[in-house]
């Protein structure tokens, strides 16, 4: 092999904007914010000082899965320094799902749990006190009467008949795409026929990846404070400022124009700072106390409650000819999204679009499930959706190489996609460079490969027969062998956090359903009573909660529930999403 294999850099995108002199790797480049970093002046959210700053901390579930019989805040409310204790019923619209901002999925997660908790660390109350220590002490004084429920921590067990229902919005314990499909399915060619060929070896594998915490050095948090004009400023560590803004507007039922969000300096995110859990609570705290409120996770919360990259489990089955050509590959995958959807539904789609990895395989089949379990909800992290399955694919490639007695790098070169090949998602591959990457990696590692493999190229040998879309078998019914039979649990007409939903959130506004549908109620919500009766904190259900819970504080209701923008008919409900208003 020549001592200088070159990866040819092709460009059909941004051809005019990119210069070919790419030599940034290995050379330090000055960041535009570097001066602030080295002088300690970069404005992280917690570096903003406010007089009279109050501190918020949450009461959290010690159980994987439990019904909340009663929350007794009486003693905690009387503790020194305590200004306010927020419960789920104080949250104007206490049900959300992150991707509802793009009209995807069902609202399935409360900001503060009311009827039940579904993972260890789920928040059920937020204490606001003058000092952090007072807030901690008061959190310890809140008494919650739990009724422990059976839990499930493994995605395949969660799909088995009789498994506990983790999240009543999803009674089958799977995310249902478009309210119909229990998983993402990919079919390309006919894998079963290829598996039956006499000239192939079958190689199977099972791979799994644990949840991984992003563990930023700056823990997640936000400070919110009233401004002088009826707005609330919010300094936040979020990675997704407008996402957090839209989520806050929705949960608090207020126009985004009253929210002044300031972010941009993030002390490490890696995907773990998109979930927008802090901003709504901090702003609600500022509304209810009229004072600046800080809500920050400590390190233990960051690790336990902070949403990780979710666990994944993959089953792979390949048919490979004796000379190392993979002719069929089947996937079955389970994403453990934890108790709530967050972004896992999207991760599954992303994974499916990526299959079968950077290889040209003429028969591909895949079923991938987004499964609910009683674990910490999963969210984004660096390439999520791809990382886990790539780990599985590449481990499997090594296994295949061993089985057929081929060098693992040569096996990859042999099966690599090339320009003009048809991918399983029915797009032609272009700008492929796996062969060259393998060649360079082998060279750098001093790993010998045979001359014919060193001579191969992504530019040639692709297309032709390899550009064809094979005749694809479809199964009747959209179900395939080996997938768990979904329990006959049809979606409830109005999915709601069933165990004790009616205490949730919307006490005086019966018009708002537990799940805000894509098309909002035809009538705007009835105006709430100006002053809800003090002695009747919430209507209906969960009667066990009633007698004890007679707090001095009234549940929060916005004075004028916001109707413009948020409840406008149509998919896009948030004026804060740029460009949607003019559609």
């Amino acid at each position: 092999m020549s001592s200088q294999t070159r990866v040819e850099l092709r460009k059909d995108l941004f051809a005019d904007e990119r210069d070919d002199n790419l030599n940034e790797i290995g050379r330090p480049t000055a960041r535009q914010d570097i001066l602030g970093h080295v002088t300690g002046r970069s404005p992280f959210f917690d570096d903003h000082q406010f007089d009279g700053l109050l501190h918020m901390r949450c009461v959290r579930s010690p159980h994987h899965h439990a019904r909340i019989r009663r929350i007794d805040i009486a003693a905690a409310e009387r503790m020194p320094g305590v200004r306010r204790i927020i419960l789920g019923r104080d949250v104007p619209h206490n049900l959300n799902t992150l991707l509802s901002l793009i009209d995807f999925g069902r609202d399935d997660e409360p900001l503060l749990a009311t009827g039940k908790v579904s993972y260890v660390g789920e928040a059920v109350a937020a204490v606001i006190a003058e000092t952090e220590r007072q807030a901690r002490d008061a959190v310890a004084a809140v008494r919650v009467d739990w009724e422990v429920l059976p839990h499930v921590l493994d995605p395949e067990e969660a799909l088995a008949p009789g498994a506990p229902i983790v999240n009543e919005t999803w009674p089958r314990n799977v995310f249902e795409y478009h309210d119909k499909y229990t998983h993402q399915k990919l079919r390309f060619g006919d894998v079963e026929r290829a598996f039956a060929r006499p000239d192939v070896e079958i190689v199977e594998g099972r791979y799994q990846m644990s949840p991984i915490e992003q563990a930023p050095t700056e823990t997640c948090g936000a400070i919110a404070a009233p401004e002088t004009n009826g707005r609330y400023v919010c300094h936040t560590s979020t990675q997704a400022l407008f996402f957090s803004l839209g989520t806050t507007a929705k949960l608090l039922d207020m126009p985004s124009s009253r929210l002044h969000f300031i972010g941009g300096t993030v002390g490490g995110g890696f995907g773990g700072k998109v979930d927008s859990l802090h901003e709504p609570l901090a702003v609600l705290g500022a509304i209810l106390t009229g004072a600046p409120v800080k809500y920050i996770w400590d390190r233990a919360e960051e690790m336990q409650v902070g949403a990780p990259r979710g666990a994944e489990r993959w089953y792979l089955k390949d048919a490979v000819t004796r000379d190392g050509r993979i002719v069929a590959r089947r996937f079955r995958g389970y994403f453990d999204c934890g108790a709530y959807t967050r972004l896992s539904s999207y991760a599954v789609q992303k994974a499916t679009g990526h299959l079968p990895g950077p290889y040209t395989i003429e028969n591909v089949s895949s079923d991938v499930y987004c499964v609910f379990t009683n674990r910490t909800p999963a969210t984004a992290m660096r390439g999520f959706g791809i990382t886990g399955v790539d780990f599985a694919i590449e481990c499997h490639m090594d296994k295949v190489a061993e089985r057929v007695g081929l060098d693992p790098i040569e096996l990859r070169i042999l099966n690599a996609y090339r320009d003009g090949d048809m991918k399983a998602h029915r797009r032609l591959a272009k700008n492929t460079a796996l062969i060259e990457c393998c060649q360079v990696a082998a060279e750098k590692a001093g790993w010998p490969i045979r001359p014919e493999f060193a001579a191969m190229s992504s530019l040639t040998g692709g297309g032709g027969d390899r550009a064809a879309i094979p005749e694809t078998v479809t199964d009747e019914e959209g179900r395939v062998d080996g997938t768990p039979a979904a329990r006959p649990a049809p979606r409830p007409a109005a999915p709601a956090p069933a165990p004790a939903p009616a205490t949730a959130s919307t006490s005086a506004r019966p018009a708002a359903p537990a799940t805000r549908p894509a098309a909002p109620p035809a009538t705007p919500p009835a105006a709430p009573p100006v002053a809800p009766p003090v002695s009747a904190p919430a209507p209906a259900a969960a009667p066990a909660e009633r007698p004890q819970e007679r707090p001095a504080q009234k549940p929060y209701q916005p004075q004028e529930p916001f109707t413009r923008g948020v409840k406008k008919p149509g998919a896009h409900r948030f004026s804060s999403l740029s460009g949607t208003r003019r559609r």
Partner: protein
């Protein structure tokens, strides 16, 4: 709760504050004195993000009882520059891409500053040892090590 008057020098200036019993130095510096350069990372002495110098020695501000610095000299990143001129460590961190998110940077800088004052010409191993208590999650340690070695050179050049 008992409040104790505490006097110490912060970056060369006399400071006098009342601290509550049990208050840690990190909170007193940040909330009490408004020096926001030390950062909170874990509150339990595992990440090094809050590292400051007490009498020239690196110390974790989150685990240091504020009362214990009475009469002592505390230095933070705010005291690193010489007037308008940045410390050689700061220059070197800028040029070597030794800070990505910047959150662990103040602690790294103080751990490195303590090293350079003790060992103006440290070996790579000594640099690694000096920052072994400081966690970086995104920059990566290699550019940080390179920057500290570079700073040692700059410092010697500046001194000569």
């Amino acid at each position: 709760m008992a409040r104790t008057p505490v006097e110490f020098r912060l970056n060369g200036a006399e400071k006098a504050v009342f601290v509550e019993g049990g208050a840690n130095l990190l909170d007193v510096l940040r909330r009490g004195l408004g020096d926001m350069t030390p950062k909170y990372g874990c509150g339990q002495g595992t990440c090094g993000t809050c590292t400051v110098l007490v009498d020239g020695r690196p110390q974790l501000a989150c685990l240091t009882l504020a009362e214990t610095v009475a009469g002592r000299e505390v230095r933070t990143v705010a005291g690193l520059p010489d007037g308008a001129e940045l410390h050689p460590l700061q220059d070197a961190f800028m040029e070597n891409f030794a800070a990505q998110c910047g959150y662990c940077t103040p602690g790294m800088l103080m751990a490195a500053a303590a090293l350079l004052e003790r060992r103006p010409d440290p070996s790579r191993e000594e640099v690694v040892e000096a920052i072994s208590g400081n966690i970086c999650r995104c920059t990566g340690y290699e550019p940080i090590i390179a920057a500290i070695l570079d700073a040692a050179q700059r410092r010697r050049r500046r001194a000569s």
